[in-house]
């Protein structure tokens, strides 16, 4: 793959590698990472490609080293990334909190595996809370993309770098292990940056052009100062919620019940939807693409006219909370959650849809 990258063409690529190539195309100058399954192909890919491009690749001493190297590289104004999987992501949380606080643009990837603990290396989405609520300390957010196929892994990696720069904050892809490991055809679009990305000249360190010494920090001992900083962050977050919320709706117009799912789950849900429609159920699909900002408003609107929703996720009721938060008690939000590598079958989902539709007025269908 490496010799000549056929930009603009269709290629067959592994999800992990597609993210790597997208990062290279998007001008990522440094990759820092520590091996962990199921994202190793990304690290391996970067170890070759970054050096080919004369850029920086370090296999770090640990995940903590990696995220803090990102902090340094972002502070001098260069694009950089790291990637890991669940246990490694937990170790990065302090660093992510620092990056959010210091308003530095860093893009990273979590190819989610089964947890908690060492767990297993099977696909999972159980780091949803950690990703969307800030597994690190303090009041902050990370923009989280939940792609559904290899093409989106590629595209959202590019977008991830751009929105990181646009809003000066950490952004990430949360991908279940299937997405990281699978191969699909994808088109290697040329990288086109978002228009009007802000210049970094006024804050990046080590630039001889800046007259006065600059400071990058996450420390503000004085309380009103720090409080204002956090409020500024939250005002930025509100703007992001307005601008960057992404989702997809399929066949929700006439639906009696809507499936809510992201990542690989959304694809299985879609197959289940098709099967269920064949069986006569009026089923729609709502797919959050950004997990933070979560598409609460469109979901809430949907809840005004749909009586049931069935959340399908590779975790035990994490995104379920966001759906319930968005919809209040306007609709019945059922849950089909699997964990630790368990994958819902298409038929299971159809069965759950039926059960949900048949449920009594105050009963919520849940499989655990």
């Amino acid at each position: 793959m490496s010799e000549k990258i056929p930009i603009g063409e269709k290629v067959l690529m592994k999800g992990n590698e597609a993210m790597g190539e997208a990062a290279v195309q998007a001008g990522c100058m440094a990759y820092y990472g520590y091996p962990i399954t199921p994202q190793n192909e990304l690290t391996a890919y970067m170890s070759r490609r970054m050096l080919e491009e004369g850029r920086i690749f370090i296999q770090t001493e640990s995940e903590i080293g990696a995220i803090n190297m990102c902090y340094g590289t972002a502070a001098v104004g260069e694009r950089c990334m790291t990637s890991s999987s669940s246990p490694g992501m937990s170790l990065k949380q302090e660093g992510i909190s620092y990056i959010a606080s210091a308003s530095l643009p860093v893009f990273f990837v979590n190819v989610n595996r089964g947890g908690p603990g060492l767990g297993n290396i099977a696909p999972a989405q159980s780091d949803y809370f950690q990703s969307t609520r800030g597994g690190g300390h303090g009041d902050y957010r990370v923009i989280v993309f939940g792609p559904t196929n290899v093409q989106e892994l590629y595209d959202f990696t590019m977008l991830g770098f751009d929105v990181a720069d646009k809003y000066r904050m950490p952004t990430m892809i949360l991908a279940d292990g299937i997405l990281g490991q699978m191969m699909e055809p994808l088109v290697l679009h040329e990288y086109k940056p978002l228009p009007d990305l802000p210049s970094k000249a006024d804050w990046r360190l080590g630039d001889p052009a800046t007259k006065d010494p600059l400071l990058v920090t996450s420390l503000v001992l004085d309380v009103p100062g720090m409080e204002q900083r956090n409020l500024d962050l939250f005002h930025k977050y509100e703007e992001i919620t307005k601008n960057e919320t992404r989702y997809e709706e399929v066949d929700t117009d006439d639906a009696d019940i809507v499936l809510v799912a992201y990542g690989t789950c959304a694809r299985i849900a879609r197959s289940a939807m098709e099967q269920a429609r064949e069986e006569g159920m009026k089923v729609g699909l709502f797919r959050p693409i950004t997990l933070w900002p979560f598409p609460s408003d469109p979901l809430s609107k949907l809840a005004d006219r749909v009586e049931h929703m069935l959340v399908v996720e590779l975790s035990l009721g994490q995104m379920w909370e966001d759906v319930r938060l968005a919809t209040g008690l306007k609709t019945k939000v059922h849950l089909h959650g699997r964990t630790a590598g368990g994958i819902p079958g298409q038929a299971d989902i159809v069965e759950h849809l039926q059960k949900a539709l048949d449920s009594k007025s105050d009963e919520i269908v849940r499989n655990f």
Binding site: I178, M183, E184
Partner: protein
């Protein structure tokens, strides 16, 4: 048309390569495809398997619960996957390493003495190609020609011409079984 395929065998039998070749060929033929290897801890000595879907429309679920076709290279894999095949589907299996018969009677069965044929061609390491050739010729999910002219080169580049030639021969011999 959507065809779900699972390849399975020992680690070292080139199972993942089979899947990749199918997926790559499908792409070249402008079909939709997804390929997913069963990945494991990097410890050895287990079975390997992967799944491929080939379709002429968008592929939703990339997971293969009930394959339409299984390509089985050894005994433990037959034990594991025989029951999963969709009624009316196909079981291709390697009689060189599998003594027993398929038990089900609601599926099509195609026997391939893959290792023996590969040995004849020049190396039993090409047994996977023999199997692949048989499958392709029988079901025409993808074209043999695509494999020979495009996919092998793309997915195995770096291999010596000798190996490539061996693989091509094995593919053709496999295909001839089904013609």
């Amino acid at each position: 048309m959507t065809q779900k395929i699972r390849c399975a065998g020992f680690g070292g039998q080139g199972i993942v390569l089979m899947g990749r070749l199918i997926a790559y060929s499908a792409m070249v033929e402008d079909k939709h495809t997804t390929f997913f290897p069963q990945y494991g801890a990097a410890m050895r000595g287990g079975t390997a398997n992967c799944s491929v879907i080939v379709a002429d429309c968008d592929i939703a679920a990339p997971t293969v619960e009930e394959p339409d076709v299984v390509l089985i290279m050894n005994g433990p894999s037959l034990d594991k996957f025989e029951d999963t095949v969709k009624p009316g589907g196909w079981i291709f299996y390697n009689t060189s390493l599998i003594d027993r018969e398929v038990k089900r009677d609601d599926v099509n069965v195609f026997k391939v003495a893959a290792n023996e044929i590969a040995d004849e061609v020049g190396s039993s390491r090409s047994a996977n190609m023999v199997m692949l050739g048989a499958f392709v010729a029988k079901l025409r999910t993808i074209e043999l020609d695509t494999l020979l002219t495009r996919s092998l080169d793309a997915q195995m580049h770096g291999k010596s011409e000798r190996v490539m030639e061996l693989n091509r021969k094995a593919l053709k011999r496999g295909a001839s079984l089904a013609e």
